[in-house]
């Protein structure tokens, strides 16, 4: 865990000028705040749901290939479990933020959900494509199938699926151009508008975990998985940077634009990916 946290720090340092330990301090600071208010039980439980979701996925995800310890609890379920378990946290968060009663929260969530529905479409197509390709849904087995050299990676054996999924990853990370959910200028911060202090601390911790997980998931699915910690860190780091780079270059989409965008090119790529393996 601690190693992962380090990575988050390093990764967030990608932004200009922040000390690499800054996110840590932020989190400590957030926990150290003295005041805190709550809008009700669900508001309180929202972040817990969120983190349960995040940590849960983490636990269900095999990190290191063929490692006894770092396969975590992946015996409990396969790729489908992970894809659906993301929603657990999102739902809890949405509910908690909803109870905050702030209109921006609701607007943010409604936008987030709208966008999310279409983000998942190319992702699904890609996953289906991979499942056809490797004839399995188990992540460990998918990783196992990619061993034996860089050309065995899904990236090369199934490029369309990879590209489709990588595009959907952009949306999943919520950087520009798909950051209307948080839209710092118009609906400040979106869903977590009312969250603060340790609630926000928990959420930030979780955001970090989620980014790692997404990256690790993609690494496992498309980039051959990781045989050791070093490989894990390097690969997921690069996957994360993909979205950061794109985010720097492109301006923000409106919600209906992003919805329609995901239903165009990424969808097409996903369809091609499936047709190839049909």
């Amino acid at each position: 865990m601690s190693a992962t946290m380090r990575k988050i720090g390093a990764r967030v340092a990608g932004r200009y000028g922040i000390p690499f330990y800054q996110p840590w301090i932020n989190i400590i600071k957030l926990y150290s705040l003295r005041d805190s208010i709550t809008h009700g039980v669900m508001f309180y439980l929202g972040p817990i749901f969120r983190v349960s979701g995040g940590v849960g996925i983490f636990l269900f995800m095999p990190l290191i290939f063929a490692s006894q310890h770092f396969s975590n609890f992946s015996f409990a379920g396969d790729l489908v479990l992970i894809m659906y378990f993301q929603f657990f946290g999102m739902l809890g968060m949405a509910l908690g933020a909803g109870e905050g009663g702030h209109p921006h929260s609701a607007i943010g969530i409604s936008r987030g959900l709208s966008q999310f529905t279409t983000i998942e479409v190319p992702m699904t197509l890609a996953v289906i494509s991979i499942a056809i390709q490797y004839n399995t849904l188990s992540i460990s087995e998918i990783v196992a199938a990619q061993q034996g050299g860089i050309l065995h990676w899904t990236l090369f054996t199934n490029p369309f699926a990879t590209v489709a999924a990588m595009l959907s990853l952009l949306g999943a990370f919520g950087h520009s151009p798909f950051n209307l959910v948080k839209a710092p200028n118009e609906i400040p911060i979106g869903p977590p508008t009312e969250y603060h202090s340790s609630f926000l601390g928990v959420l930030r911790t979780n955001a970090a975990i989620l980014h790692v997980i997404e990256a690790v998931l993609f690494m496992n699915l498309f980039f051959g998985g990781a045989g050791n910690w070093f490989e894990l860190i390097v690969k997921s780091f690069f996957i994360y940077f993909w979205s950061v780079f794109v985010g720097i270059v492109f301006p923000r989409f409106r919600i209906e634009q992003s919805v329609q965008w995901f239903l165009k090119i990424p969808l097409l790529l996903g369809v091609i990916a499936i047709i190839i393996f049909m």
Binding site: Y31, D35, S36, I37, T38, H39, G40, V41, L45, I48, S52, G56, F60, F73, F75, A76, G77, V80, L81, Y84, F85, F87, F88, L91, A94, L95, G98, E99, G100, G101, H102, P103, A106, I109, S110, R111, L113, S114, T117, E120, V121, T124, I128, A131, N135, T136, L137, S138, E194, S197, S198, F199, V202, R254, E256, L263, G270, V271, I274, M278
Partner: protein, 1041 residues
């Protein structure tokens, strides 16, 4: 044994005697008349009894002691006795009903009345053609006299038109008789039949004239404008006689003399009959006047009967049964309806809502309407069933289609009428007066429909094993309707529990699949009935309707043959229709529900009939179809899909579910829809696993399911009405289920069953919870609610669990469905459909969130600050269901493993393996139990962690939010719930544009337009009508010769 001749003597004697009783008061004369009619009834009744108990031979009576042709002879057989009994009976009842009118109109009217009855009797009994003619005339004149005696505006003119028309007809008939006499030298009908007149051309014309005249007497479409005017303007009591008694009598005449023609003339009759049936019912659609509407219906029904007579030779030994049931149904229902028209005294069918103040009459009205359309348990249901079975067996599919089309048209206006009656606005304050002497005939007729229905079922093949027990129970419950709802609810639950007990344990051993659905139907029924305890007052009519529906559902499970199945299916439709239209604004939705259901049921009926023709009546026969298999399957599938509300056939659902009462919505949504699913399962079992890869129907259904899921869910996201949202969500969920079953693999079926169970559980929870909330906050609009979590935490938890299950988020059981689904789809190779369904599944998050947020989170409204937690009677079933969800979530293997084994028989290879609690396929694996435990532990740890850091959180109130330095002004303006997914709507709203609604609207407009156009032939002018009659004959003549 009193000789039938005395029917004439008594009637004539009384009529003459009345002339001499000048000093007696009118009342006494009327009593004498009634006594006489009673006597007539008794005579026919004793003959019927004699025939029924057997041993009685058909007797011939020769009036003057000579043999025919030198005398008039009467024949009294079983048929004659029954028809005569019917006539006299309705005459008696009508006499009672018209008592006061007759008294007022005086002795002459009374005498004419009895003469009319006598005429009808003689028509039935006589075997002499000329005698027949004479008494037809007697009957016509008597009728005309009675019509004219009625002092209604148009009575005189319509009486005149009637005279003109019958005059022409009489002329034609007389002409025919003369011709016939010339050819045969006899006037006896039997001689006519034996003479084989059609051999020569002149004889054929004689036959043509005779048959044509009798047919015209039966008011065939479109040469029947005069008759409709009569129906409209005559006294309702009289219309009853014209429609029931006269119609029946003349029909019988037609039946008697049909044999004088050749085989061709039967065909002709059948054709003319069906044209009348379809045409007349089509015209009825645009009709607003109640009596005229009944007229159309009468004409239509008689047309159907003419057709049946025309098919007499084809139907063979089934003919009597079919004709009898349909005649009786028409006879009883039409008499009852005309009498009711006299009680209500409203011309416009929209004003009939006055009837609502008298629940008893309302029930009778419903009974008659359902009898006419042919719903179980009424006699016409069995008649139509047999008719269609036989026709299908003789491959007369076009006829079947025409009959059902006509029936459907009839359904359109009758249900519209029923809707007006049940849901129309009651404008006037004064209630309608119901004199006892008017109600008794109606009641007797109403009860008779049930009795006859019950007995007719025993004559149908496979009908003898229909389970009538629940229906008796319901009837008993109906008679204790005056009890408070609480008591009735206990009785109903007890009844349901017992009903379940009678067949469910047995099914558990025998057929697990049925057991599951049976449990959903009956168990779910009991749970939703518990919610019914909230109701105060009497809740009249609710329990019989609900129980009829559940009896139907139970019947579907128990059904072993297609008749049982169809019987139960229609019963369920009937019950659910009544339940649905109990809602406040549910009339149009109930109406469209009924039309779709009826149309779907008719398609099923065709399918069943074709199957029956090939492989017998058992349900298993579906798998043994040899020809037209795909057509049959398609029709059955469409029939079932009207209930599962697959896209295209779904437009009835949202309104019907949303506007129903709070505890009815879960019944119709969580439970009733499963009936369609069950039907599909039966269908798919019949199609067999081997068809999985090859049958295009499955492929189409799969796509349909996927599109339904997408459209349903998308539309649900854009709803403002909480219950409508849930209703659209049901459409979407049923789309999943259809899709899953259409996959036709072991996994696919498991997915479908998991979805079915889940949908039952969570949709019941959601509808109950939201319904209960609606009861408290008195609005459906989500944006008018908000923040209710503070007032109704238990409801919130219920909805939360409901939506987690719905959306398929682990650890709850919804995920079981999703996981199975993925595996099934990928193994099957339906990737794109699967992706669409998956997309739909994510869209479900949109409406799930909207539902829980807009209702329970956000800002509490002013007016809801003191609102109470939902009623305990809703909480109990909700939490029982939630326990069910929890168990199913934690140990899906407990249920899925045995089901998997149970359905393994249908599929060659079993693809889901259970290892302890872990399910695995060749693709992946998943353990609900472990996921649950891991998540539980994690949740606890994190809760402790946050609690540690956040012990002293200050609980704040709802406006303590950051608001850009400002503060919120009103909860309404701070609650973001209206048009929540505006951006999404902009992007994808196109997909849910109401094309389908528009299509159906267009269809209905077209039908109405056609009806309105064709209706113009009825100008209301006597000369035109006369012309019609002549033209009609001429055209037929041209066709025939």
């Amino acid at each position: 044994m009193i000789s039938p001749i005395h029917i004439i003597t008594i009637a004539l004697g009384t009529a003459f005697a009345l002339g001499f009783t000048g000093k007696l008061s009118q009342k006494i004369s009327a009593f004498i008349m009634l006594a006489a009619v009673g006597m007539l009834t008794f005579i026919s009744a004793q003959w019927v009894y004699a025939f029924y108990s057997g041993g009685q031979e058909t007797i011939q009576i020769f009036t003057a002691g000579f043999k025919p042709p030198y005398s008039v002879n009467l024949q009294m057989g079983y048929q004659e006795a029954v028809i005569s009994l019917m006539i006299n009976f309705v005459g008696l009842l009508s006499g009672i009903y018209l008592f006061k009118t007759l008294v007022k109109q005086g002795k002459n009217a009374i005498a004419v009345y009895i003469i009319l009855l006598m005429g009808l009797n003689v028509i039935v009994l006589t075997q002499d053609m000329f005698n027949l003619f004479v008494f037809l005339e007697v009957q016509s004149i008597a009728t005309a006299g009675l019509i004219v005696l009625h002092k209604k505006k148009h009575a005189v003119s319509s009486g005149f038109k009637y005279m003109v028309a019958t005059g022409i007809i009489a002329g034609l008939l007389l002409l025919g008789i003369i011709f016939a006499y010339y050819f045969t030298g006899s006037l006896n009908i039997q001689d006519f039949i034996n003479a084989n007149m059609t051999a020569s051309k002149g004889g054929a014309i004689a036959v043509f004239l005779i048959l044509g005249a009798i047919l015209l007497e039966l008011k065939p479409f479109p040469a029947n404008g005069w008759a409709l005017d009569v129906y409209q303007s005559a006294k309702p009591g009289l219309s009853a006689i014209i429609s029931s008694a006269s119609g029946t009598a003349v029909l019988f005449v037609l039946y008697k003399i049909a044999a004088i023609g050749s085989f061709d003339s039967y065909d002709l009759l059948a054709n003319l009959g069906i044209i009348t049936f379809v045409g007349s019912n089509l015209l009825g659609i645009k009709q607003k006047n109640a009596q005229r509407l009944l007229g159309y219906s009468s004409v239509g029904q008689i047309g159907l009967l003419v057709m049946i007579i025309g098919f007499g030779p084809v139907l063979g030994d089934k003919f009597q049964f079919i004709a009898f049931t349909i005649v009786v149904a028409h006879f009883l229902a039409k008499a009852g309806l005309f009498w009711l028209a006299g009680i209500v005294k409203k011309d416009n069918i929209k004003k009939w809502s006055a009837l609502r103040k008298k629940p008893f009459l309302l029930v009778l009205f419903g009974t008659f309407v359902f009898t006419l359309i042919g719903f179980p348990p009424f006699p016409s249901f069995f008649g139509k069933w047999e008719l269609i079975m036989v026709l299908a067996a003789k491959s007369n599919m076009i006829w079947v289609a025409a009959i059902l089309l006509g029936s459907f048209f009839e359904g359109i206006y009758l249900f519209k009428w029923l809707g007006y009656v049940i849901k129309g606005e009651v404008s006037e304050k004064k209630t309608i007066k119901v004199p006892v002497h008017k109600i008794i005939p109606v009641a007797i007729v109403g009860i008779l429909t049930y009795v006859v229905g019950f007995f007719s079922s025993t004559f149908v093949e496979g009908g003898d094993i229909i389970n009538y027990l629940p229906l008796f129970f319901i009837a008993a419950l109906f008679f204790v309707d005056f009890l408070p709802a609480f008591v009735k609810n206990i009785i109903a639950i007890a009844g349901m529990a017992y009903y379940g007990y009678t067949f469910l344990p047995e099914l558990y051993e025998k057929d697990l699949l049925r057991f599951i659905f049976g449990t959903i139907f009956i168990g779910g029924g009991i749970l939703t009935l518990i919610a019914g305890f909230y109701a105060k007052g009497k809740r009249q009519g609710f329990y019989p309707a609900a129980l009829i529906m559940f009896a139907g559902l139970g019947g579907i499970i128990q059904a072993e043959n297609m008749l049982q199945f169809f019987f139960a299916w229609e019963l369920m439709t009937l019950g659910s229709y009544i339940l649905i239209i109990r809602g406040k604004r549910s009339m149009p939705h109930g109406y469209s529900y009924m039309l779709f259901s009826v149309a779907g049921a008719y398609l099923m009926l065709i399918g069943f009939a074709m199957t029956n023709a090939q492989a017998g009546i058992s349900l298993d026969a579906l798998s043994m179809i040899t020809s037209h298999a795909n057509l049959i399957y398609l029709m059955l599938a469409i029939g079932f899909m009207t209930k599962t509300a697959t896209v295209g056939l779904h437009i009835w659902l949202p309104g019907a579910h949303a506007e129903a009462e709070s505890d009815v919505s879960p019944m119709v949504s969580a439970i009733l829809l499963k009936a369609g699913v069950f039907g599909l399962i039966i269908l798919f079992i019949a199609m067999g696993a081997e068809s999985a890869g090859t049958n295009p129907i499955l492929y189409i259904l799969g796509w349909l399911g996927a599109i339904t899921a997408l459209v349903g869910n998308l539309a649900a996201s854009f709803q403002e009405d909480a219950k409508k949202l849930l209703a659209y969500s049901s459409i979407g969920q049923l789309g999943y289920i259809l899709f899953a079953f259409a996959i036709m693999t072991h996994l696919g079926w498991l997915t479908g069953i998991t979805y079915s169970i889940n949908h039952f559980l969570f949709k019941a929870v959601l509808f109950l919870a939201i319904g209960a909330v609606v009861l408290r906050v008195k609005t459906h609009k989500m944006y008018e609610m908000g923040g209710l979590i503070k007032r109704m935490p238990l409801a919130f938890i219920a909805v939360l669990i409901g939506i987690i299950t719905l959306s398929g988020v682990p650890p709850l059981s919804g995920f079981a469905g999703k996981w199975l689904f993925y595996n099934a789809v990928i193994l099957k190779g339906w990737y794109f459909q699967g992706a669409i369904v998956f997309f739909a599944g994510i869209i479900a998050f949109l409406y799930c969130f909207r539902l829980i947020y807009a209702v329970f989170l956000g800002q509490l409204k002013d007016e809801h600050r003191n609102v109470k937690e939902i009623s305990i009677w809703f909480i109990i079933p909700i939490y029982i269901l939630i326990i069910g969800i929890m168990i199913f979530s934690a140990r899906p293997d407990l249920i899925l493993q045995p089901i998997g084994d149970a359905i393994a028989g249908y599929f060659p290879s079993e693809t889901l393996n259970w290892n302890d609690t872990t399910a695995s396929t060749t693709l992946g694996y998943w353990s609900g139990y472990r996921v649950m435990i891991i998540i539980g532990i994690m949740f606890t740890i994190l809760f402790a962690w946050l609690a540690l850091f956040n012990r002293k959180s200050k609980k704040v109130k709802q406006f303590n939010i950051v608001y850009s330095g400002e503060r919120p002004e009103r909860p309404e303006t701070t609650h973001v719930a209206h048009n929540m997914y505006a951006g999404y709507n902009k992007a994808l709203g196109l997909l849910v544009a109401p094309f389908i609604t528009q299509f159906w609207n267009y269809m209905s407009e077209t039908v109405k337009g056609t009806a309105g156009f064709v209706r113009r032939v009825y100008t209301g002018n006597g000369q035109t009508y006369a012309l019609h009659i002549i033209m009609y004959l001429v055209i037929i003549y041209l066709i025939v010769f």
